[in-house]
């Protein structure tokens, strides 16, 4: 079952909730719609569920028009952030609801309904709680009932609207993994809305990053993380250090750090480099250019240590991440002076987060000398340049 969303638009008074959104969803895939509040992801989900109207554009399921169907006929399962369980019905009756409201012709018999409900309760690990009311369940249990209820009608698509937003952290992580396992078992096309990028990165086959009603980038989690296509995606996903660059002769540079070239040949006044915390080397040999940084603070977070570094040359505080063991091996302490330089970065021609189609250059350091002769292309929207030689893995 393929879902083809084409140029979907939805305006509310004053702003565009969805602005020309196009997306193709493969059968059985787990797609995450990721973005900040107001990015349009929930609007998109609700339009797919049949709870909102669209202004223009189309959605086709297996080639047939999807949006002209009323919500009842779409064979969609929807799970809400606050469960939306029917509070006056027991768990069993909640799960059976979708089957009981079917028209006479397609309605299963009472016995069949009961069997199916039992099976679903077992699958969501809630057998034995069938006669409880929602008010007597914990948040995690409620969400599992909501999922069982959505699955009872055997939908083609499962839509989840920030399903774990109302749960506490530990329950969230457990349910997250359980949901993914369930998806792998059922192979049901799933669209999952979230503002939590950790969740999206962990669960999804593909992530669509949305901002201001547009899709900024679609791709697998690794691609989104390693090869962000716009400054917004860079800043939204994971932590990142933003370093302003300037043209220094025929290279881009920021204080002592020099990149090998300038792909835009001085065309752009203020390119910007995004460096992930794990891409900062902390003990750069004196032969290579690096910043002098003072280690201000070490934040221990389990297996990773976050280091706060102040670079005087840039007048900027950078954050670096290293493994806990490496921290011990380097014997770092607050107050130390380090030689710091990025091992890799994503460089954009413009710092303007709102602009689409900025020129992009994915830069890697070399273990020997800088190779100035990169294969430069014209500033294309997705111009990923790598040196031919293997670089040090970030």
């Amino acid at each position: 079952m393929t879902l083809e969303i084409s140029r979907l638009c939805r305006r509310f008074t004053g702003f565009a909730a969805l602005n020309d959104v196009s997306l193709s969803i493969a059968p059985g895939e787990f797609l995450a719609l990721l973005g900040p509040s107001g990015s349009g992801k929930t609007t998109l989900l609700r339009i797919l569920a049949g709870l909102e109207q669209h202004d223009s554009g189309s959605v086709r399921r297996d080639g047939a028009d999807f949006l002209t169907l009323p919500a009842r006929e779409r064979k969609v399962g929807l799970v809400f952030q606050h469960y939306a369980l029917f509070r006056h019905l027991t768990v069993r009756e909640n799960v059976a609801f979708g089957l009981r409201v079917r028209p006479r012709r397609t309605r299963p018999s009472r016995g069949e309904v009961a069997t199916r409900v039992e099976q679903l309760l077992k699958r969501v690990q809630l057998e034995g709680l069938g006669d409880r009311f929602p008010a007597q369940l914990s948040g995690g249990q409620c969400q599992r009932v909501a999922l069982a209820r959505a699955l009872a009608v055997e939908p083609d698509i499962l839509l989840l609207d920030e399903p774990f937003g109302a749960l506490d952290a530990q329950v969230r992580v457990k349910l997250r993994r359980w949901l993914r396992a369930l998806h792998d078992e059922l192979k049901l096309t799933t669209i999952f809305v979230t503002h939590d990028q950790e969740e999206a990165l962990e669960l999804a086959d593909r992530i669509a990053v949305m901002n201001n009603g547009r899709i900024e980038q679609v791709g697998p989690p690794q691609g989104i993380y390693q090869q962000p296509e716009t400054p917004f995606v860079c800043e939204f996903i994971g932590k990142v250090n933003r370093i302003a660059l300037h043209a220094d002769g025929d290279r881009l540079a920021a204080a002592q750090w020099q990149l090998g070239a300038d792909p835009w040949r001085g065309l752009h006044a203020q390119p910007v480099a995004y460096v992930r915390p794990e891409q900062l080397s902390l003990a750069v040999p004196s032969a290579r250019p690096a910043w002098t940084a003072r280690l201000r603070h070490i934040y221990l977070a389990g297996s990773v240590a976050h280091l706060e570094l102040y670079v005087a040359a840039l007048d900027q505080t950078l954050e670096a991440d290293i493994a806990n063991e490496e921290l011990a091996a380097l014997r770092l302490q607050a107050g130390d002076t380090l030689r710091v330089a990025p091992r890799g970065a994503v460089v954009f021609s413009s710092a303007d987060v709102a602009s689409s189609d900025p020129g992009r250059w994915v830069w890697r350091a070399h273990d020997a000398r800088d190779h100035a002769a990169h294969a430069l292309t014209a500033p294309a929207p997705v111009a990923a340049l790598h040196d031919g030689r293997r670089s040090v893995a970030p």
Partner: protein, 287 residues
Amino acid sequence: MNAVALPRALARRRPLVPALLIALALGWLAAFLLLPLAAVFVEALRAGVQAYLASIGKPDALAAVRLTLLVAAIAVPLNLVFGVAAAWLMARFEFRGKALLGALIDLPFSVSPVVSGLVYVLLFGAQGWFGPWLVAHGVTVIFAVPGLVLATIFITVPFVARELIPLMQAQGSEEEEAARVLGATGAQMFFRVTLPNIRWALLYGVLLCNARAMGEFGAVSVVSGHIRGLTTTMPLEVEMLYNEYDYVGAFAVASLLALLALLTLAVKTLLEWRYGDALATHAPGGH
């Protein structure tokens, strides 16, 4: 200490404060509620049980009882339907004039009942706006049962709607949306999800509506014409008997009204006691 513990702790240390408040509340209720209520029954039975039963058995009294029940039986179901429809509209839709509609629903509360009755006389009376048309078609509204029903409907319009609107707004439409996506038709959604969620507030609204419909005096008095045996409801009958110095009769009929009020209260308390947990879960905030 948290917000709950503080008053309790105070109460333990200084039992004087809660004791004073309880005494004040009980005293107030006794003076303005219990005493008059007791007086009704005392006066009704002053001449003995036989006289009491004779008063109630008089044809005029019985006619008044029948008329009161008839008017309530028409007005309450109509306002039930309207109240649910209005609450659905106000809680689930945005439209121009929504605030105006809300104000109109509350209008009967702010208008004096006598004025409400007068308005109907001005509209449907023989010299009223529709007067000539009604006379021409042989329809009497004012000084007849239809007028009583209309005036009672007007007075009791807000009760059901006002109970339901805030509840439905607070509950939100998520359960109904879930029902729709699961395949329910509009009617199925309404009867299986919406109605069960509002049933206690609806019942409470109906009880209030009924109590007011049976006890209304001002508006009904203006439109009734006080035709003994034909257009007198129980409250009107009480007044007329009292003006004729038939105190036992007046208080006897009044005692029926009082019994009705007590019955309403008992039903409400019984329901709250029996379904207390259900009431709690239907308040927003439960899962």
